[in-house]
Protein backbone atom coordinates (compact mmCIF):
# COMPACT_ATOMS: atom_id res chain seq x y z
CA UNK A 1 0.00 0.00 0.00
CA UNK A 2 1.44 3.34 -1.02
CA UNK A 3 1.76 5.89 1.73
CA UNK A 4 0.01 9.19 1.29
CA UNK A 5 2.34 12.10 0.70
CA UNK A 6 0.39 14.25 3.18
CA UNK A 7 1.36 11.86 5.96
CA UNK A 8 4.90 13.07 5.63
CA UNK A 9 4.24 16.76 5.12
CA UNK A 10 6.26 18.76 7.66
CA UNK A 11 4.24 20.50 10.32
CA UNK A 12 4.88 24.21 9.88
CA UNK A 13 4.19 24.93 13.54
CA UNK A 14 7.06 22.77 14.65
CA UNK A 15 9.65 23.71 12.09
CA UNK A 16 12.64 24.96 14.01
CA UNK A 17 15.25 27.51 13.06
CA UNK A 18 17.72 24.67 12.45
CA UNK A 19 15.31 23.27 9.89
CA UNK A 20 15.74 26.46 7.87
CA UNK A 21 19.42 25.76 7.31
CA UNK A 22 18.70 22.48 5.50
CA UNK A 23 20.52 22.50 2.20
CA UNK A 24 23.79 21.39 0.75
CA UNK A 25 26.08 19.42 3.00
CA UNK A 26 29.67 20.43 2.48
CA UNK A 27 32.37 18.07 3.77
CA UNK A 28 36.12 18.56 3.51
CA UNK A 29 37.78 16.45 6.16
CA UNK A 30 40.74 14.28 6.97
CA UNK A 31 40.65 11.71 9.74
CA UNK A 32 43.66 9.56 10.51
CA UNK A 33 43.85 6.38 12.60
CA UNK A 34 47.26 5.08 13.57
CA UNK A 35 47.67 1.56 14.84
CA UNK A 36 50.77 -0.50 15.59
CA UNK A 37 50.65 -2.43 12.30
CA UNK A 38 48.21 -0.50 10.17
CA UNK A 39 47.08 3.02 9.60
CA UNK A 40 44.05 4.40 7.81
CA UNK A 41 43.26 7.86 6.55
CA UNK A 42 39.87 9.14 5.47
CA UNK A 43 40.31 12.06 3.09
CA UNK A 44 36.99 13.34 1.77
CA UNK A 45 35.90 16.43 -0.09
CA UNK A 46 32.29 16.39 -1.26
CA UNK A 47 29.17 18.48 -1.70
CA UNK A 48 25.94 16.62 -0.95
CA UNK A 49 22.73 18.27 -2.21
CA UNK A 50 19.25 17.43 -0.88
CA UNK A 51 18.14 13.97 -1.97
CA UNK A 52 19.45 10.49 -1.41
CA UNK A 53 23.18 10.12 -1.89
CA UNK A 54 24.50 6.61 -1.63
CA UNK A 55 27.89 6.12 -0.01
CA UNK A 56 29.08 2.96 -1.68
CA UNK A 57 32.22 0.95 -1.20
CA UNK A 58 33.73 -2.23 0.17
CA UNK A 59 34.12 -2.97 3.89
CA UNK A 60 36.89 -0.86 5.39
CA UNK A 61 36.51 1.92 2.83
CA UNK A 62 35.66 4.45 5.54
CA UNK A 63 31.89 4.76 4.99
CA UNK A 64 30.89 4.54 8.65
CA UNK A 65 33.84 6.71 9.69
CA UNK A 66 32.60 9.41 7.32
CA UNK A 67 29.10 9.31 8.87
CA UNK A 68 30.52 9.37 12.41
CA UNK A 69 32.64 12.42 11.60
CA UNK A 70 29.60 14.25 10.19
CA UNK A 71 27.43 13.29 13.17
CA UNK A 72 30.13 14.44 15.63
CA UNK A 73 30.78 10.99 17.09
CA UNK A 74 34.35 11.24 15.77
CA UNK A 75 36.41 14.39 15.49
CA UNK A 76 38.31 14.88 12.21
CA UNK A 77 41.98 15.87 12.36
CA UNK A 78 41.54 18.55 9.71
CA UNK A 79 38.82 20.18 7.70
CA UNK A 80 35.38 21.67 7.77
CA UNK A 81 31.78 20.41 7.75
CA UNK A 82 28.84 22.71 7.03
CA UNK A 83 25.17 22.34 6.24
CA UNK A 84 24.45 25.28 3.95
CA UNK A 85 25.67 28.31 5.97
CA UNK A 86 25.73 26.52 9.33
CA UNK A 87 29.25 25.35 10.20
CA UNK A 88 29.17 22.36 12.53
CA UNK A 89 32.88 21.58 12.45
CA UNK A 90 35.91 23.63 11.50
CA UNK A 91 39.37 22.76 12.73
CA UNK A 92 41.11 26.08 12.19
CA UNK A 93 38.73 28.45 14.03
CA UNK A 94 37.98 25.50 16.34
CA UNK A 95 34.27 25.02 15.79
CA UNK A 96 32.92 21.67 16.99
CA UNK A 97 29.17 21.66 17.60
CA UNK A 98 28.23 18.99 20.14
CA UNK A 99 26.48 15.88 18.80
CA UNK A 100 23.18 16.63 20.51
CA UNK A 101 23.04 20.12 19.03
CA UNK A 102 23.79 19.20 15.39
CA UNK A 103 20.18 18.29 14.42
CA UNK A 104 21.44 15.35 12.38
CA UNK A 105 19.41 12.14 12.25
CA UNK A 106 21.40 8.92 12.41
CA UNK A 107 20.14 5.38 11.90
CA UNK A 108 22.82 2.96 13.05
CA UNK A 109 23.54 -0.35 11.40
CA UNK A 110 22.36 -2.20 14.52
CA UNK A 111 19.54 0.40 14.90
CA UNK A 112 20.33 1.15 18.57
CA UNK A 113 16.71 1.17 19.71
CA UNK A 114 16.47 1.70 23.46
CA UNK A 115 15.56 -1.78 24.78
CA UNK A 116 13.89 -0.57 27.99
CA UNK A 117 11.53 1.84 26.20
CA UNK A 118 8.42 1.02 24.18
CA UNK A 119 8.24 1.84 20.47
CA UNK A 120 6.20 4.97 21.29
CA UNK A 121 8.70 6.14 23.92
CA UNK A 122 11.60 5.46 21.55
CA UNK A 123 10.00 7.71 18.96
CA UNK A 124 9.09 10.44 21.46
CA UNK A 125 12.63 10.48 22.85
CA UNK A 126 13.94 13.06 20.39
CA UNK A 127 10.98 15.46 20.67
CA UNK A 128 10.60 15.58 24.44
CA UNK A 129 10.99 19.37 24.50
CA UNK A 130 7.76 19.86 22.53
CA UNK A 131 4.50 20.47 24.35
CA UNK A 132 2.52 17.25 24.99
CA UNK A 133 -0.19 17.88 22.39
CA UNK A 134 2.30 18.63 19.62
CA UNK A 135 4.48 15.73 20.67
CA UNK A 136 1.54 13.36 20.53
CA UNK A 137 0.49 14.67 17.13
CA UNK A 138 3.97 14.25 15.66
CA UNK A 139 4.39 10.81 17.20
CA UNK A 140 1.06 9.57 15.89
CA UNK A 141 1.73 11.01 12.43
CA UNK A 142 5.09 9.31 12.08
CA UNK A 143 3.71 6.04 13.52
CA UNK A 144 0.94 6.10 10.91
CA UNK A 145 3.31 7.07 8.14
CA UNK A 146 5.60 4.14 8.77
CA UNK A 147 2.68 1.77 9.46
CA UNK A 148 3.76 0.95 13.00
CA UNK A 149 0.88 2.41 15.04
CA UNK A 150 -0.07 -1.03 16.32
CA UNK A 151 3.38 -1.50 17.83
CA UNK A 152 3.35 1.61 19.99
CA UNK A 153 3.28 -0.16 23.35
CA UNK A 154 5.62 -2.99 22.43
CA UNK A 155 9.27 -3.22 23.35
CA UNK A 156 11.90 -3.47 20.56
CA UNK A 157 12.56 -7.15 21.34
CA UNK A 158 8.86 -7.93 20.75
CA UNK A 159 8.76 -6.82 17.11
CA UNK A 160 10.23 -8.17 13.87
CA UNK A 161 13.43 -7.04 12.16
CA UNK A 162 11.56 -5.08 9.50
CA UNK A 163 9.41 -3.37 12.12
CA UNK A 164 12.52 -2.43 14.09
CA UNK A 165 13.99 -0.80 10.96
CA UNK A 166 10.81 1.23 10.55
CA UNK A 167 10.88 2.32 14.20
CA UNK A 168 14.53 3.37 13.89
CA UNK A 169 13.80 5.40 10.76
CA UNK A 170 10.70 6.97 12.31
CA UNK A 171 12.63 7.85 15.49
CA UNK A 172 15.26 9.73 13.47
CA UNK A 173 12.83 11.49 11.16
CA UNK A 174 10.35 12.67 13.79
CA UNK A 175 12.94 15.20 15.01
CA UNK A 176 12.90 16.98 11.63
CA UNK A 177 16.65 16.66 11.10
CA UNK A 178 18.45 18.92 8.62
CA UNK A 179 20.50 15.93 7.46
CA UNK A 180 19.90 12.17 7.70
CA UNK A 181 22.66 9.57 7.97
CA UNK A 182 21.75 5.93 7.35
CA UNK A 183 24.39 3.30 8.02
CA UNK A 184 23.30 0.18 6.12
CA UNK A 185 19.88 0.30 7.78
CA UNK A 186 18.29 -2.32 5.52
CA UNK A 187 21.17 -4.76 5.24
CA UNK A 188 19.47 -7.55 7.19
CA UNK A 189 16.07 -7.39 5.48
CA UNK A 190 14.50 -9.52 2.77
CA UNK A 191 13.68 -7.98 -0.63
CA UNK A 192 9.94 -7.21 -0.26
CA UNK A 193 10.32 -5.72 3.24
CA UNK A 194 13.26 -3.65 2.05
CA UNK A 195 11.28 -2.34 -0.93
CA UNK A 196 8.40 -1.13 1.25
CA UNK A 197 10.71 0.74 3.61
CA UNK A 198 12.66 2.24 0.72
CA UNK A 199 9.37 3.43 -0.77
CA UNK A 200 8.40 5.10 2.53
CA UNK A 201 11.79 6.78 2.74
CA UNK A 202 11.57 8.06 -0.83
CA UNK A 203 8.13 9.55 -0.21
CA UNK A 204 9.30 11.12 3.05
CA UNK A 205 12.26 12.68 1.30
CA UNK A 206 10.15 14.04 -1.53
CA UNK A 207 8.23 16.03 1.08
CA UNK A 208 11.20 17.16 3.19
CA UNK A 209 14.04 17.45 0.70
CA UNK A 210 17.03 17.15 3.02
CA UNK A 211 20.40 15.59 2.18
CA UNK A 212 20.41 11.88 3.04
CA UNK A 213 23.63 9.91 3.13
CA UNK A 214 22.85 6.23 2.76
CA UNK A 215 25.71 3.81 3.35
CA UNK A 216 25.58 0.47 1.60
CA UNK A 217 27.74 -2.08 -0.11
CA UNK A 218 24.81 -3.45 -2.13
CA UNK A 219 24.86 -2.58 -5.85
CA UNK A 220 21.13 -3.25 -5.98
CA UNK A 221 20.42 -0.55 -3.39
CA UNK A 222 22.65 1.90 -5.26
CA UNK A 223 20.65 1.44 -8.45
CA UNK A 224 17.18 1.39 -6.90
CA UNK A 225 17.48 3.98 -4.14
CA UNK A 226 20.10 6.61 -4.86
CA UNK A 227 19.86 9.91 -6.69
CA UNK A 228 23.66 10.16 -6.61
CA UNK A 229 26.55 7.96 -5.56
CA UNK A 230 29.83 8.60 -3.77
CA UNK A 231 32.08 5.62 -4.30
CA UNK A 232 34.69 5.18 -1.58
CA UNK A 233 37.78 3.04 -1.51
CA UNK A 234 40.56 3.08 1.10
CA UNK A 235 39.23 6.31 2.60
CA UNK A 236 39.01 8.29 -0.65
CA UNK A 237 36.28 9.11 -3.15
CA UNK A 238 37.18 7.31 -6.37
CA UNK A 239 34.00 8.16 -8.31
CA UNK A 240 30.82 10.19 -7.91
CA UNK A 241 27.77 10.97 -9.99
CA UNK A 242 24.55 9.29 -11.12
CA UNK A 243 24.17 5.62 -10.12
CA UNK A 244 24.05 4.37 -13.72
CA UNK A 245 27.25 6.25 -14.56
CA UNK A 246 29.23 5.18 -11.51
CA UNK A 247 28.21 1.52 -11.24
Amino acid sequence: MAVEMRDFAPNRAIESSEKDVSGILSVQIRKRFDAARDSFELDIAAEVPPGITIVFGPSGAGKTTLLECIAGLLSPNFGRIAIESRVIFDRSPKVDVQVHKRKIGYVFQDLALFPHLSVGKNIEYGIRELNPALREEKTQTILDSFRISGLRDRKPNQISGGERQRVALARSLVTDPCLLLLDEPLAALDGPTKSKIVEDLRIWNAAHCIPILYVTHSREEVLTLGDRVLMLEAGKIIAQGLPQEVI
Binding site: A71, G72, L73, Q98, V99, H100, K101, R102, K103, I104, G105, Y106, F108, D110, A112, L113, F114, P115, H116, Y125, G126, E129, K155, N157, R171, S172, T175
Partner: protein, 224 residues
Amino acid sequence: MDWQSLLLTIRLSAIVAAILFLIALPVAYWITYSRWRWKFLAEAAVGLPIVLPPTVLGFYLLIALGARSPLGHFWQSITGHTLAFTFQGLVIGSIIYSLPFAVQPFAASFAAVDSRLIAASATLGASKLRTFREIILPLSTPGLVAGIALSFAHTMGEFGVVLMMGGNIPGVTRTVSIEVYDQVQALNYSGASITALILLGISFSLLSLVYALNRRVFAVWLWK
Protein backbone atom coordinates in the same frame (compact mmCIF):
# COMPACT_ATOMS: atom_id res chain seq x y z
CA MET B 1 22.46 -10.74 72.09
CA ASP B 2 22.75 -6.93 72.31
CA TRP B 3 19.93 -5.59 70.12
CA GLN B 4 21.24 -2.06 70.52
CA SER B 5 24.42 -2.92 68.60
CA LEU B 6 22.40 -4.70 65.91
CA LEU B 7 20.13 -1.70 65.38
CA LEU B 8 23.15 0.62 65.35
CA THR B 9 24.83 -1.58 62.73
CA ILE B 10 21.72 -1.60 60.51
CA ARG B 11 21.37 2.21 60.87
CA LEU B 12 25.05 2.71 60.02
CA SER B 13 24.82 0.40 56.99
CA ALA B 14 21.65 2.07 55.67
CA ILE B 15 23.09 5.58 55.99
CA VAL B 16 26.39 4.55 54.40
CA ALA B 17 24.65 2.74 51.51
CA ALA B 18 22.41 5.77 50.85
CA ILE B 19 25.30 8.27 50.88
CA LEU B 20 27.51 5.93 48.85
CA PHE B 21 24.83 5.66 46.19
CA LEU B 22 24.98 9.43 45.67
CA ILE B 23 28.78 9.63 45.81
CA ALA B 24 29.53 6.53 43.74
CA LEU B 25 27.28 7.50 40.79
CA PRO B 26 29.38 10.46 39.58
CA VAL B 27 32.66 8.73 40.52
CA ALA B 28 31.72 5.60 38.56
CA TYR B 29 30.49 7.69 35.61
CA TRP B 30 33.79 9.58 35.52
CA ILE B 31 35.82 6.37 35.79
CA THR B 32 33.82 4.80 32.96
CA TYR B 33 33.75 7.65 30.48
CA SER B 34 36.72 9.90 31.27
CA ARG B 35 39.59 9.81 28.76
CA TRP B 36 42.04 11.35 31.21
CA ARG B 37 45.44 9.76 30.74
CA TRP B 38 46.13 9.30 34.45
CA LYS B 39 42.70 7.92 35.28
CA PHE B 40 44.20 4.65 36.47
CA LEU B 41 45.64 6.48 39.48
CA ALA B 42 42.15 7.53 40.57
CA GLU B 43 40.88 3.98 39.98
CA ALA B 44 43.70 2.61 42.15
CA ALA B 45 42.92 5.14 44.90
CA VAL B 46 39.21 4.19 44.89
CA GLY B 47 40.13 0.47 45.01
CA LEU B 48 42.66 0.81 47.83
CA PRO B 49 40.26 -0.20 50.64
CA ILE B 50 39.91 -3.64 49.01
CA VAL B 51 43.58 -4.49 49.54
CA LEU B 52 44.59 -2.22 52.44
CA PRO B 53 44.37 -3.76 55.94
CA PRO B 54 41.35 -2.15 57.66
CA THR B 55 43.51 -1.19 60.63
CA VAL B 56 45.86 0.76 58.34
CA LEU B 57 42.92 2.56 56.73
CA GLY B 58 41.42 3.15 60.17
CA PHE B 59 44.71 4.56 61.42
CA TYR B 60 44.95 7.07 58.55
CA LEU B 61 41.33 8.06 59.02
CA LEU B 62 41.91 8.53 62.74
CA ILE B 63 44.81 10.87 61.96
CA ALA B 64 42.91 12.67 59.17
CA LEU B 65 39.78 13.22 61.26
CA GLY B 66 41.49 13.77 64.62
CA ALA B 67 41.44 17.10 66.48
CA ARG B 68 44.90 18.07 65.18
CA SER B 69 44.01 17.68 61.49
CA PRO B 70 42.48 20.62 59.56
CA LEU B 71 39.26 18.68 58.98
CA GLY B 72 39.02 17.53 62.58
CA HIS B 73 39.80 21.04 63.82
CA PHE B 74 37.14 22.53 61.54
CA TRP B 75 34.58 19.94 62.69
CA GLN B 76 35.40 20.61 66.34
CA SER B 77 35.03 24.38 65.89
CA ILE B 78 31.48 23.80 64.55
CA THR B 79 30.20 20.96 66.74
CA GLY B 80 32.39 21.21 69.82
CA HIS B 81 33.67 17.64 69.56
CA THR B 82 36.00 15.64 67.33
CA LEU B 83 34.91 13.21 64.65
CA ALA B 84 36.91 10.33 66.10
CA PHE B 85 34.92 7.97 68.35
CA THR B 86 31.56 9.34 67.17
CA PHE B 87 28.82 7.88 64.99
CA GLN B 88 29.44 10.58 62.35
CA GLY B 89 33.12 9.65 62.23
CA LEU B 90 32.11 6.03 61.82
CA VAL B 91 29.88 6.98 58.88
CA ILE B 92 32.73 8.86 57.15
CA GLY B 93 35.16 5.98 57.75
CA SER B 94 32.65 3.43 56.48
CA ILE B 95 31.94 5.45 53.35
CA ILE B 96 35.62 5.46 52.43
CA TYR B 97 36.05 1.82 53.39
CA SER B 98 33.07 0.65 51.30
CA LEU B 99 33.54 3.07 48.38
CA PRO B 100 34.97 0.47 45.93
CA PHE B 101 32.11 -1.93 46.69
CA ALA B 102 29.69 0.61 45.24
CA VAL B 103 31.88 2.24 42.59
CA GLN B 104 33.10 -0.94 40.92
CA PRO B 105 29.69 -2.58 40.27
CA PHE B 106 28.32 0.80 39.15
CA ALA B 107 31.24 1.38 36.77
CA ALA B 108 31.02 -2.18 35.42
CA SER B 109 27.32 -1.79 34.69
CA PHE B 110 27.81 1.63 33.02
CA ALA B 111 30.57 0.15 30.86
CA ALA B 112 28.24 -2.68 29.82
CA VAL B 113 25.70 -0.26 28.31
CA ASP B 114 26.04 -0.43 24.51
CA SER B 115 27.94 2.66 23.35
CA ARG B 116 25.64 2.83 20.29
CA LEU B 117 22.67 3.54 22.57
CA ILE B 118 24.56 6.45 24.09
CA ALA B 119 25.48 7.73 20.63
CA ALA B 120 21.86 7.31 19.47
CA SER B 121 20.64 9.31 22.45
CA ALA B 122 23.05 12.13 21.60
CA THR B 123 22.01 12.22 17.93
CA LEU B 124 18.40 12.51 19.11
CA GLY B 125 19.29 15.73 20.92
CA ALA B 126 19.77 14.47 24.48
CA SER B 127 22.46 16.05 26.64
CA LYS B 128 24.94 13.89 28.54
CA LEU B 129 22.97 14.37 31.75
CA ARG B 130 19.71 13.30 30.10
CA THR B 131 21.39 10.32 28.46
CA PHE B 132 22.75 9.29 31.85
CA ARG B 133 19.38 9.69 33.54
CA GLU B 134 17.18 8.07 30.89
CA ILE B 135 19.42 5.52 29.16
CA ILE B 136 22.49 4.62 31.21
CA LEU B 137 20.86 4.51 34.66
CA PRO B 138 17.82 2.36 33.75
CA LEU B 139 19.99 -0.08 31.80
CA SER B 140 22.41 -0.31 34.74
CA THR B 141 19.77 -1.22 37.33
CA PRO B 142 21.21 -4.68 38.11
CA GLY B 143 24.67 -3.20 38.76
CA LEU B 144 23.21 -0.39 40.87
CA VAL B 145 21.26 -2.84 43.03
CA ALA B 146 24.35 -5.02 43.42
CA GLY B 147 26.48 -2.00 44.39
CA ILE B 148 24.01 -0.83 47.04
CA ALA B 149 23.66 -4.36 48.43
CA LEU B 150 27.39 -4.93 48.57
CA SER B 151 28.12 -1.61 50.27
CA PHE B 152 25.33 -2.29 52.82
CA ALA B 153 26.56 -5.81 53.54
CA HIS B 154 30.21 -4.77 53.63
CA THR B 155 29.46 -2.01 56.15
CA MET B 156 27.51 -4.49 58.30
CA GLY B 157 30.55 -6.71 58.57
CA GLU B 158 33.34 -4.16 58.96
CA PHE B 159 35.58 -4.48 61.98
CA GLY B 160 39.04 -2.94 61.72
CA VAL B 161 37.98 0.53 60.65
CA VAL B 162 35.22 0.61 63.28
CA LEU B 163 37.64 -0.42 66.00
CA MET B 164 40.22 2.22 65.02
CA MET B 165 37.77 5.05 64.26
CA GLY B 166 34.93 4.40 66.65
CA GLY B 167 36.33 2.44 69.53
CA ASN B 168 33.73 0.46 71.43
CA ILE B 169 31.15 2.83 72.86
CA PRO B 170 27.77 1.09 73.46
CA GLY B 171 24.93 2.78 71.56
CA VAL B 172 27.33 5.08 69.69
CA THR B 173 30.02 3.09 67.90
CA ARG B 174 29.62 -0.47 69.11
CA THR B 175 28.61 -2.53 66.09
CA VAL B 176 27.74 -6.23 65.89
CA SER B 177 31.23 -7.25 64.72
CA ILE B 178 32.80 -5.45 67.70
CA GLU B 179 30.31 -7.21 69.98
CA VAL B 180 31.36 -10.62 68.64
CA TYR B 181 34.99 -9.69 69.26
CA ASP B 182 34.18 -8.58 72.82
CA GLN B 183 32.30 -11.80 73.56
CA VAL B 184 35.18 -13.93 72.29
CA GLN B 185 37.63 -11.90 74.39
CA ALA B 186 35.42 -12.59 77.40
CA LEU B 187 35.38 -16.32 76.46
CA ASN B 188 31.62 -16.11 75.99
CA TYR B 189 31.58 -18.42 72.98
CA SER B 190 27.87 -19.22 73.13
CA GLY B 191 27.01 -15.50 73.08
CA ALA B 192 29.50 -14.88 70.25
CA SER B 193 28.04 -17.81 68.32
CA ILE B 194 24.47 -16.43 68.53
CA THR B 195 25.55 -12.91 67.52
CA ALA B 196 27.72 -14.21 64.67
CA LEU B 197 24.90 -16.45 63.44
CA ILE B 198 22.46 -13.54 63.41
CA LEU B 199 24.93 -11.40 61.44
CA LEU B 200 25.54 -14.28 59.04
CA GLY B 201 21.78 -14.84 58.60
CA ILE B 202 21.02 -11.18 57.97
CA SER B 203 23.87 -10.76 55.50
CA PHE B 204 23.01 -13.95 53.59
CA SER B 205 19.26 -13.15 53.49
CA LEU B 206 19.92 -9.62 52.32
CA LEU B 207 22.25 -10.68 49.55
CA SER B 208 19.92 -13.50 48.43
CA LEU B 209 16.96 -11.12 48.36
CA VAL B 210 18.85 -8.50 46.41
CA TYR B 211 20.26 -10.92 43.84
CA ALA B 212 16.84 -12.50 43.36
CA LEU B 213 15.33 -9.05 42.90
CA ASN B 214 18.18 -8.18 40.62
CA ARG B 215 17.34 -11.02 38.26
CA ARG B 216 13.73 -10.00 38.12
CA VAL B 217 14.58 -6.36 37.43
CA PHE B 218 16.86 -7.50 34.63
CA ALA B 219 14.16 -9.70 33.20
CA VAL B 220 11.58 -6.92 33.22
CA TRP B 221 13.29 -4.74 30.66
CA LEU B 222 14.66 -7.63 28.68
CA TRP B 223 11.51 -9.64 28.18
CA LYS B 224 8.48 -7.58 29.09
